[in-house]
Symmetry: C2
Subunit: 340 residues, 2 copies
């Protein structure tokens, strides 16, 4: 099976050099997959950069565009340029089935706006959602939405739940993933009317492993395979978790460096601490699909490096190979047809 | 100066034994303060437990009640019993100025409901808020609200900002604390209308160190001294952070124990890792005032131990000694009188 990927060569804080190094890395990781890349952006720059990667160059196509979507491009601007910008072209090549998936580390607003317009949403999906896999004691939990929709209806939360469940089957290899609805702790303050209504909706779905309400600390505990929430709360939760990870690394480093025993201990325990770093490496969780679109579009963190970008490419490859779009559409139909 | 404290002897997962051990610990920590305790609850049980703490017993009073507020008492039930329950009695003793502050590790809903009714809110405060001090790279940041108000108006967020700022002066020893408004990251999706309006309100306050919008990861980074948000988002952020702390400790332990080098390194670096544990010890941040009431009421975590409870008592002592209620009321008046 050939997997043909459209890459935004100009996205991310480090641009073409990072994207191309990431693609090269993905090429060697997924050497058993028949890969083809198309780089969309400044043709001259891409050509120059590819010179250092001969085997990648062999399977790559360069698609030049005058109009580059940057971190400063506003969504409205991106939409106006439409399929003429490098990012618009890349997305459109997936719509026309020239490629199987698009990956970009570019600006989320413009990427999401263009993807929504060009790729369209699946039957039964109002608006797409952005999920993430967060590390947990048990492995990983899928949390969505992470910022695409600041205010959500109960119906949208239900859609997120169904899509998150499908993603958990693919990415977490779970047969019957459990789904929790994010709420706050106090018994007597069980959240707002939206989560209450979404709770009732989710309970009414047949053959669906709905766990009920979960709280913020259930994310790290891995209580459920999927955690559903609106984009405002989800984004704050994600960023709070990221901030805590940074804080802990800081504390750990500070503690270790403050004593001689700490320094010696560190030298001896280095391998163990490397494992710790690896377990908590955000690059390994990089690559979030825009869930609910008719084609595969993957968003990479803008600040990632080639390791992280290769991981985002890996997510695209997995979703294409597993025919994810079709299975999530089937799942959506099943739920909306059988719901009471 | 005598500080007279009313303690809910029955609150928390471990009840009287934890509360009394905590009071005894506080007594030795604050040995330069003239402390008096009153324990509200099952008189016989309190009497029995106090036998092991002769110096504490000397400065303590026991106030028996037939009606105990437990973790299962619903707020409406607690309100019905009113000043007849142990917790209601303790709170009322503060209203009548018999005591200077009340501390409870009991159930948040009942405690908050009773405090609101009995102690009343300050002039200019619609509803009280629950803050927490969270550890940051720079020391600590006050985040509020953490669950008392699931949906907030822009005006309420402004009140939280003013109260949080006063608390930062007291608890973080900052002269001119900076205040951030929690929002989500994407440039083009700058949150909902409520945070937008609150932003404008906060900008219009004179002599107020308003930083602007912050994101979830700014909490751990300590970007501002105070982070203001509604109770739903704040609670999710707090719990997500707590979950991540637990997860990291798990990862670290797992990594260290998985190799011999890790184990030896741990033995050598033990002191450093203990410092790390201490920096991240939630007990040290235990004790949250119900901000916006006319008297000092402190909520301790239900699952804490005597170290954590002593810390909550310490917060009460600080607030009483610094005359916090008066200064927050003055600050509220100043802001609401001078606002454009």
């Amino acid at each position: 099976m050939i997997v043909r990927l459209a890459l935004d060569a100009m996205g991310g804080d480090k641009g073409a050099s990072m994207v191309i190094a990431g693609a090269d890395r993905a090429l060697s990781i997924y050497r058993n997959t028949d890969l083809q890349f198309a780089f969309y952006g400044d043709g001259f720059l891409i050509e120059e950069t590819l010179k250092d990667y001969p085997s990648l160059k062999e399977i790559s196509e360069i698609l030049h565009s005058e109009h580059i979507v940057t971190n400063h491009t506003k969504p409205v601007e991106a939409i106006r340029k439409g399929r003429h910008s490098n990012l618009g072209m890349a997305i459109d090549s997936v719509r026309s089935n020239k490629h199987d998936a698009v990956v970009s580390a570019g600006n989320t607003g413009a990427y999401m706006a263009l993807s929504k317009i060009i790729l369209k949403t699946l039957d039964g999906v109002e608006r797409p959602a952005i999920p993430a896999i967060l590390p947990t004691v048990k492995g990983g939990t899928i949390v969505l939405d992470l910022g695409a929709n600041t205010e959500c209806t109960p119906q949208q939360l239900l859609e997120f739940a169904v899509m998150g469940e499908s993603l958990a089957r693919l990415r977490l290899n779970k047969e019957n993933p459990s789904v929790g609805l994010l709420n706050i702790g106090s018994e007597e303050l069980k959240g707002n009317t939206i989560v209450q209504e979404a709770f009732q909706l989710l309970k009414s779905v047949h053959d669906f492993n709905f766990y009920g309400f979960v709280e913020g600390d259930d994310i790290g505990a891995g209580t459920t395979d999927v955690v559903v929430t609106d984009g405002f709360t989800g984004n704050v939760a994600l960023k709070s978790i990221e901030g805590t990870v940074k804080l802990f690394r800081h504390f750990l480093q500070e503690s270790i460096q403050s004593t001689i025993g700490g320094k010696i201990g560190y030298l001896i325990a280095r391998r163990a601490l490397k494992k710790f770093k690896k377990l908590s490496d955000p690059r390994l969780y990089n690559g979030a699909p825009f869930l609910g679109l008719q084609h595969v579009a993957i968003k990479s963190h803008g600040g990632t490096d080639d390791v992280g970008f290769a991981n985002a490419i890996g997510v695209a490859i997995d979703m294409v190979r597993q025919n994810f779009i079709q299975s999530v559409q089937e799942q959506l139909h099943k739920v909306f047809d059988t719901k009471e």
